[in-house]
């Protein structure tokens, strides 16, 4: 049992993280929270790949004279490269997602998914409209500069 756990524990933890991320994406109402869930989900995938690159008694994939070019002494470098690319692309995805988030807030004054849907469908019971309608006016007067600043950075 202990040996089974030592061999397979990574898969259980990665599975738990994937479930947490999936739950965040599906069940959370707040759109920013959905993005947090997505980040957790992608990071779990990175962990799966990196733990798959591990070999017993192997060191980092930097060729040293002590070990020569014996491939069994170094961990697999290919997953490292793939995940490096994936991390950079992941930041791009989060960036576009957050830009859409800012835009949705400017248009609807809220980040709660059900309120946005209610406003889009023109339903009369559009949630707590009382304060939701005040905020877009503020956002359009002060929000323009902020949007630009993030752009340049």
């Amino acid at each position: 049992m202990a040996e089974f756990f030592a061999d397979r524990y990574v898969y259980f933890f990665v599975l738990a993280l994937l479930s947490i991320g999936l739950y965040g994406m599906f069940a959370m109402r707040n759109l920013a929270k959905k993005l947090v869930g997505m980040t957790i989900f992608t990071t779990a995938i990175y962990l799966f790949f990196i733990e798959g690159s591990v070999k017993d008694d192997a060191t980092a994939p930097i060729i040293t004279p002590a070990y020569g070019v014996d491939a069994t002494r170094y961990v697999d470098p290919l997953p490292h490269l793939l995940i490096l690319t994936a991390i950079v692309v992941g930041v791009g995805i989060v960036g576009v997602g957050l830009a859409l988030l800012v835009r949705i807030y400017q248009a609807h004054g809220t980040l709660e998914e059900n309120e946005v849907v209610a406003r889009l469908s023109g339903s009369p019971r559009a949630g707590r409209r009382g304060h939701a309608l005040d905020e877009p006016a503020q956002a359009s007067s002060g929000g323009g500069d902020d949007g630009d600043g993030e752009d340049g950075a």
Binding site: A6, D7, Y9, Y11, F13, L15, A16, L17, S19, I20, Y23, G24, A27, M28, R29, N30, A32, K33, T39, I40, T43, Y46, L47, I50, G52, S53, K55, D56, A58, A60, I62, I63, V69, A71, V75, P77, L78, L81, L84, T85, V88, G90, V91, G92, V94, G95, V96, L98, A99, L101, V102, R103, Y105, E112, A139, S140, G144, G147, E150, D151
Partner: protein
């Protein structure tokens, strides 16, 4: 890596992930997300993926956190209702199906650290044995990134340019509306 340390790190990572989804203050959620990314970078370092650990610490914890904070300060800081019970129950079957499928698939995966795993028999050993001769770069990940798979890196750059353009266009659309 020492098994106990690795398990402890994984447990802390899972607790941080749950907390990041649970707190109502979005800035606190982002702080927890950055802590989560740093801990994941520690696990990467433990799995001797040094390049990946560095990039995750800089991009995952740093840049993602800054982008989140910028967006949240521009919009709203608090999440009113986390999730309704109706939605929680409708998510459950999806999660259960996902877990069952993944557990079933994981039975075919090799044990951790098995040097004879199929993934280690392919092109990986070739890169490790040839890179010093081919590229004179001791760091094999660098040799892969810039030499063997430089077209991947070019594609990655294109993706980043597209993402920056997309974000710029989405944020610009409002100004056009105001002018017009």
């Amino acid at each position: 890596m020492i098994l106990e340390v690795d398990v402890l790190l994984f447990v802390i990572v899972i607790v941080t992930a749950v907390l990041a989804l649970k707190v109502r203050d979005l800035l606190a959620a982002v702080a927890l997300l950055a802590a989560y990314s740093l801990l994941v970078a520690l696990i990467f370092a433990g799995a001797v993926a040094v390049d990946v650990a560095l990039v995750e610490a800089v991009l995952g914890a740093g840049v993602t956190g800054v982008l989140f904070i910028a967006a949240i300060l521009t919009t709203s800081r608090r999440a009113d209702v986390l999730d309704s019970s109706r939605r929680r129950w409708s998510t459950l079957p999806v999660l259960a199906a996902f877990l069952a499928l993944m557990l079933y698939a994981s039975t075919g995966l090799p044990d951790k650290g098995d040097p004879l795993a199929p993934a280690h028999q392919g092109v990986g050993p070739v890169y490790l044995e040839q890179s010093l001769e081919d590229t004179e770069t001791p760091n094999v990940v660098t040799a892969l990134l810039a030499d063997y798979r430089s077209q991947d890196t070019l594609g990655e750059t294109l993706v980043i340019v597209t993402a920056a353009l997309g974000a710029a266009l989405v944020l610009r659309a409002r100004e056009q509306e105001e002018l017009g």
